[in-house]
């Protein structure tokens, strides 16, 4: 536990580092609460009185993992200091929608966020097939992407983006039932009025198990960690 805390406090903030710390700290007795605490600690300084209630979120994660056989993710929105556990609530082809009890949701397609609801400035839908192909293969390349939003008049705006995908460092991610080598892949996207870089941790099988993805000017980046 001490090692874990030191790593948290070092505030490197890299999810993967804190996860590694988490798993080694709890040894073979991996509990969901411990897992969630590790993630939470990496995203927010647990000692800060104004931070999100780490224990509450950890317990939610434990409950979610115990109560469902579906996927469970932890979602962090650092911009608003928001942290939540989301459970798989529906699956439509390759799209998996995760939701909270307070009716916010995020939809992932192969780990890439394609839409959200209830977060504000929500991503309505996206075309991510081309970039997803590169990310899953951990290949270098360029591909188009479309993100759709509603503007201030509730009219649909299609953001045409051009993205460069690059594999970066390799590492290992150990996380509850997940224990896998991973490749860090970045996706740098550009449009007329927007630049962002998403980061994914991708398994050899092409699954995104952890990511940090651009959402909107209101919410900035959203970090997503698979718990199962």
């Amino acid at each position: 536990m001490r090692k874990q805390r030191i790593l948290q406090k070092s505030a490197l903030g890299l999810i993967c580092l804190s996860i590694a710390a988490c798993s080694s700290g709890t040894g073979n007795d991996v509990t969901a609460v411990g897992i969630a605490k590790g993630i939470v600690g990496g995203l927010f300084d647990g000692n800060k009185p104004s931070g999100p209630d780490v224990n509450a979120v950890s317990q939610q994660a434990a409950k979610a993992l115990a109560s469902t056989s579906g996927q469970v993710i932890v979602v962090a929105i650092p911009q608003s200091d928001a942290l939540s556990v989301m459970q798989e609530i529906e699956r439509n082809g390759p799209y998996v929608t995760f939701g909270t009890a307070t009716r916010q949701s995020i939809t992932l397609k192969n780990g890439i966020m394609t839409s959200s609801r209830g977060l504000g400035e929500d991503l309505m839908s996206s075309e991510t097939n081309a970039v997803q192909g590169l990310i899953a293969k951990r290949a270098t390349g360029s591909a188009p992407r479309i993100n759709r939003f509603l503007d201030g008049e509730n009219l649909t705006v299609s953001q045409q983006l051009f993205c460069n995908v690059n594999p970066r460092s390799q590492g290992r991610l150990t996380m509850g039932v997940i224990d896998t080598p991973v490749t860090k892949v970045t996706e740098s996207c550009l449009s007329d009025d927007l630049v962002f870089t998403n980061t994914y941790q991708v398994t050899p099988g092409g699954r995104v198990v952890q990511s940090r993805q651009w959402h909107s000017p209101l919410n900035d980046y959203i970090a997503i960690q698979s718990l199962r």
Binding site: L43, S84, Y95, S105, G152, E153, N154, T197, A223
Partner: protein, 714 residues
């Protein structure tokens, strides 16, 4: 549950930083306004700057004090990127009344400005604007100008221009003919005979952005303030004005300035932008996702003979919709298709109600049901029906909303209305609400603000499809609306000008008490008959018919009313139709045409007989935004002469509709409607009956729904 906390925590999940790049260079826009409330960085002089499109600002400026205090309150709206319009209410103390005008201590005056940008700025060319200042009516501030502004880098803007009228009154260098001084009619008419005539003078200035928040302006004024100087309100020592502006936020800034080396003045500007809501796209609870069917499950028709399962499905649907503020009105479920009628109580963006209903249907209806029809019910009548294939709903959930729109069939609700079983709680039902009310009159020449506030209870009893009994009772608690003085005698019966008498009672009043029948006599046709106490001042009967095909941008309507004036205490009595200036006619009515022009404009023309028996027409032009904002102006001209009508010459006004969802981000059907009317006169007055058809149904028809169809998947 999402844990939210205000404290900002840095978290470098990766070391690569993403940031939004600033938008493309703004084409000489500014959120600053001058003392006339026009967009611009100078003080008393105009510039060729414009505000961002959709900007609505209120500017209050004042200089002098006590018996030479001048205030100007201006509402300016940037209706298009190149066009801005302003309405101003000024109070000038210390002026001497012109010959033949009534006496005053402070002259309250209303004025309108219009500005049009002829040329946008380029690298080498300045932006050029032509403007009309105070171009309607008495013309106290009347002036016209052509002005150019060029930015030199991001911090400096230089302006030069020539002006007529007030703006040509100091050190003029040319003359373009005779500028008349007499009013046209009784004021209130565009003063086209003066425009760009008379002396011409040059003005100019520079605006320097000192920091992000603070700017400095210096200008050379071509306004001699002739009348103020001759009446002793102002001493003009210099043509130079200087000002400092501090921007506290995007919505508030304040300036201090020196005027003509004699006066110090201050200005405060409150701004909002109708295209910038609390949250872009709104923020609401996430919808339930589509529940796709298992492959092959659609063949199972076992449920069609299972009454228990059917009842369960309907119950579940009712529950899911209720949770989202949608009432299940009636339905018809067959082996392959389902038709549900809904009453939307929450979503101002109607596609959202339809989209949520479709998703709820995927979750609870048996798998063999392939076709969904969703009909919106307004006033007990079906308006529009959206028919979708369930396969498309499943397939397109994560695609662009335009795809589900292309796959939808939108039909007239009257065509699809058959075989429906109404839900047991649909009729009869009673709805009510109790709340405060505020009624006010602003910018009157006699008094800047009058109001009445109190408490009001409203109820609606829905007896059977289309039959609605409704009533409203108010009790005034405080107010001074009753001290409006009666205008002098005119050649018309007093149909509205005695409104003050209706504000005098201290007892509860019946605002309206009516029985209405709404109907769908034929495809594309809507009808309404209302009888009872129709509004505060009139009782009687009102009948209306509207033709509006579900996919049409054009609608045509006709309304005929039989009216009797109500007693001033607004209880059950009727008073005599005879007034001191004539007899109120029993019959009035209009033919109306409504048209969605496109490009964000909506036009309405009503022609017919008005309350006082005068014949004429009202033209209303509104700048409408898909999010529900609407800002427009109307004018009514009838066969009453300017002299008979009185001050203002004819009825005109400004109408502003604000959707509450814009301010809160949460979906709601509530909106606020404010009409800034010219003086309440008898000419061009209309009956104010509730439930006029066009406004009730328009939003459920295809042209409106298609605009915000993106909300279908919200």
């Amino acid at each position: 549950m999402i844990v939210r906390n205000k404290a900002i925590m840095g978290t470098a999940v990766t070391l690569i930083i993403g940031l939004p790049v600033l938008g493309v260079a703004e084409n000489l826009t500014t959120s600053q306004t001058n003392v006339y409330g026009n967009p611009g960085g100078l003080i008393d002089m105009p510039t060729a700057e414009m505000a961002p499109e959709g900007q609505l600002s209120t500017t209050v400026s004042a200089y002098g004090s006590g018996n030479n205090l001048t205030t100007r309150t201006t509402l300016t709206f940037q209706m298009l990127p190149r066009v801005s319009a302003s309405f101003r209410y000024s109070g000038i103390a210390g002026l001497t009344p012109a010959a033949g005008r009534p006496a005053f201590t402070t002259l309250y005056d209303r004025s309108f400005d219009l500005r049009y940008r002829l040329l946008d700025e380029t690298n080498w060319r300045p932006s050029v604007v032509v403007g009309l200042q105070d171009f309607i009516g008495t013309g106290l501030y009347s002036g016209e100008y052509i002005v150019a502004t060029k930015s030199l880098g991001p911090r400096v803007r230089i302006t030069g221009g020539i002006g007529w009228g007030r703006l040509g009154s100091y050190s003029s260098f040319a003359n373009t003919g005779n500028r008349p001084r007499a009013f046209l009619g009784e004021g209130g008419i565009p003063t086209y005979d003066r425009w760009f005539r008379g002396d011409v003078a040059a003005f100019g200035g520079v605006d320097f952005q000192l920091t992000d928040k603070l700017s400095f302006a210096a200008e050379y004024s071509s306004d001699a303030y002739d009348r103020e100087v001759s009446d002793g309100v102002l001493t003009r020592k210099s043509p130079w004005n200087f000002g400092l502006t501090y921007k506290f936020s995007d919505s508030f800034q304040a300036s201090a300035y020196s005027l003509h080396g004699d006066e110090i003045g201050v200005t405060a500007t409150l701004s909002l932008n109708v295209r910038k809501p609390a949250v872009k796209g709104g923020i609401e609870s996430a919808p339930l996702p589509v529940a796709p069917r298992a492959p092959g499950s659609a063949a199972d028709l076992g449920w069609t003979t299972d009454q228990v399962q059917q009842a369960k499905s309907i119950n579940s649907l009712d529950g899911l919709l209720e949770r989202d503020g949608i009432k299940l009105h009636g339905l018809q479920v067959g082996p392959k298709n389902a038709h549900v009628q809904i009453r939307n109580t929450r979503y101002d963006m109607r596609p959202q109600a339809v989209g949520r209903t479709a998703r709820a249907m995927t979750r609870v209806l048996p798998a063999s049901v392939e076709t969904f029809t969703i009909t919106q019910i307004i006033k007990g009548q079906p308006t529009s029906s959206v028919t979708l294939s369930r396969t498309d709903v499943e397939r397109l959930e994560h695609s662009a909303a335009s795809e589900i729109l292309a796959a939808s069939v939108i039909q007239d609700g009257a065509v699809t209305d058959r075989g429906i079983t109404l839900m047991p709680d649909t009729f009869p039902r009673f709805e009510y609400n109790i709340g405060p009310y505020l009624r006010f009159s602003v910018f009157d020449p006699e008094n800047p603000l009058r109001y009445a506030a109190g408490i009001r209870a409203k109820g609606e009893y829905h007896i059977a499809p289309g039959w609605i009994a409704s009533g409203s009772i108010s009790q005034k608690v405080i107010g001074n609306l009753d001290d409006v003085s009666l205008p002098g005698p005119s050649g018309q019966p007093r149909v509205r000008s005695n409104v003050a008498f209706y504000n005098q009672t201290e007892e509860p009043t019946i605002d309206y008490l009516t029985l209405a029948k709404y109907g769908r006599p034929a495809k594309s046709v809507y009808s309404r008959v209302t009888v009872g106490y129709l509004e505060r001042m009139y009782a009687g009967a009102s009948a209306e018919v509207l033709w509006k095909p579900v996919d049409s941008r054009l609608a045509l309507g006709a309304e005929v009313n039989y009216v009797l004036p109500r007693d001033f205490d607004q209880k059950f009595d009727i008073r005599t139709r005879a007034t001191s200036t004539g007899v109120i006619p029993e019959w009035n009515g209009h033919l109306s045409a409504y048209y969605d022009v496109g490009y964000g404009f909506h036009a309405q023309l009503d022609a017919g007989r008005y309350l006082a028996g005068d014949w004429g027409a009202t033209l209303s032009i509104d700048r409408v935004f898909a999010n529900g904002w609407s800002i427009g102006a109307y004018a009514t001209k009838t066969n009453v002469s300017s002299a008979t009508f009185g001050e203002g010459s004819f009825d005109k006004g400004i109408k502003i509709e604000i959707p509450f969802s814009w301010g809160t981000g949460k979906p709601t059907l509530q909106k606020s409607t404010t009409v800034l009317q010219s003086l309440t006169r008898d000419g061009g007055a209309r009956l104010d009956v509730n439930g006029r058809l066009y406004d009730e149904i328009k939003d459920t028809h295809r042209p409106e729904m298609a605009k915000t169809w993106g909300k279908f998947w919200r």
